[in-house]
Amino acid sequence: MSQLATFIQQQRHTKSILLMTHVIYGYPDIASSLQMMGTILQKGVAILEVQFPFSDPVADGPTITDACHQALQNQPKLGQCITDISQLAAQFPSSRVLLMSYLNPLLQYGFDALATDMAAHISGVIIPDLPIDQHTMLAPLVAANVDPIWLMIPDMQQSRIDFVAAKARGMLYCVSRKGVTGQGAGSQRAKQQLHDYLDAIKASTQVPLALGFGISTAEQVSELIGVVDIAVVGSALLRAFQAQGLAGFSAKIDELMSVS
């Protein structure tokens, strides 16, 4: 079994839900972004998701898109990003670090080189514009035990769920609704639909499930206890940082961590 999946299952023995929080490498500058990541890991968040910025992030909403464009002003390099976050991962062995980016920056680096450079410390990779149909591109990562983390969405046909489930490793990242990152959650009816959607996935796979898109409060995280293994918080942390700097960011993590 995948090391990431084992880690998640072990953590879940003592915690009712795990947190996965997101930071953009290079936003607002490289040093500050590393400081934010350090804060997250110090506070014991189970999984840190680091987004290497791309010029054309089609699956992200305005908050993350604008931050990525600002991060690019600092000319981040993927090689350095992997070195920096590997160091953090080594420093905080009781958490796991994932790399998220779009396909083109990873493609230019090369999947063989990525596998070599990520194998020691980075547990997985999330690529929102790489559909499951192209999974063979990631074979070098799989061979190096860096798990490709596939996205699941509402209204997937059973045959498609089965196709992804057969390739799933580490965890599956379930998107809570259609659209891009950074928008709010919905009504009671939407919640029922969410449960039906997750039940269909659970029936097809044992791999741990993370749920993301639109989770911004501790209350929302606690509502997911017993529903998924991991709650993913992205834009909300970024907005907390933008509103109140590192202190606001840190307070938001404390709030989210109060649930578990």
Partner: protein, 407 residues
Amino acid sequence: MNDTGYFGQYGGSFIPEILYSSQQQLLKHYRQAMADPDFIAQVKREMQQYSGRPTPLTHCANLSAQIGGAQIYLKREDLNHSGAHKMNNVIGQGLLAKRMGKKRVIAETGAGQHGVATALISARLGFECTIYMGAHDIARQYPNVFWMKQLGATVVPVTSGSQTLKDALDEALRDWTASYEDTHYLIGTSCGCEPFPEMVAGFQSVIGEEVKEQAMAQIGAMPDKIYACVGGGSNACGIFLPFVGTDTELVGIEAGGRGDGVGEHAKRFHTDQAKFGISQGFASMFIQDDQGQLAPTHSISAGLDYVGVSPILADLSDRGLVRMTSAGDSEVLAAFKTLMKAEGIIAALESSHAIAGGLREAAELDSSQNIVINVSGRGDKDIFTIAKALEDQPFNDFLRSYLEEGQ
């Protein structure tokens, strides 16, 4: 093309999972429609009765004599309704969207030509219409924005990134991920995920099909060479595809801009600033930096100012079936003037790239040879850019007094 939308190593589908089912639905309906003679007849009828097809093939006796080489013919896509070849594509996709029962269409636009064409067809076919346009392009091309709004479209300024065509495309994709149930994404060029490159090139191929018939009737032979400007690649695919594998040489002209530095041009071929990449739904040649970030572009014509290129053209170029070259801003402006004065035809600045490429090579050909240049659009829309480039002072005076009168 193979059955997963590849053209050699280019093309394919690289879209977020959320778009998978709408893409599958589009693929299915597109294949069904193309196999339905009634649909094909409907598209043809609309092209004739709404857009004025067939567009003429115009022999340019004065220009040919002036250049002193090959006989020069122009394929007059500028005479389409809306003033550009963009109409061919929106008719095809508009009718397909109607057939699919969609209520709304969205589109990206650079120069605004595709935005206007989409707004026109939306008015005619009864779609709600939203156009994404880079804020930078809105500032350059306000008259087109004005018409889109008058036609009832919502024009959304895109303020992220470079605020040009690629960012508008990103934003249209984001809209589609939330709206696919009732919305068709009416992409404006031969790019994007399967089946868009094939579909747009297919609807545009009416251009080349007509040239074949017209060349036989007017010249009595197939043209020796065909020239087309290459932005995303739709007008070039349209005129080239029916000639691929024949003796006619196919030449694409990219925007050489104002120089070879990063951000000074929009060349995807013959430059080490562009390489194989995957973005915006497809694999192709993209202008990018060493980190795989898509790079800024420039052209005097907003419509050629795109970082990627049709996977169909990238493949044809690799296979030596299309030759790619480029023309810079000043050569383009000179060609624009030469054609205008010799023949009384005001070509779009995009199309003037094809004219520059054609005139450059026509001089070296024999008078028994014939070339066809695709005039993808008319130049009226470029009046502001051209007046500025030609430093026409009275135009500025006119604008000033226009503003004063309004107060």
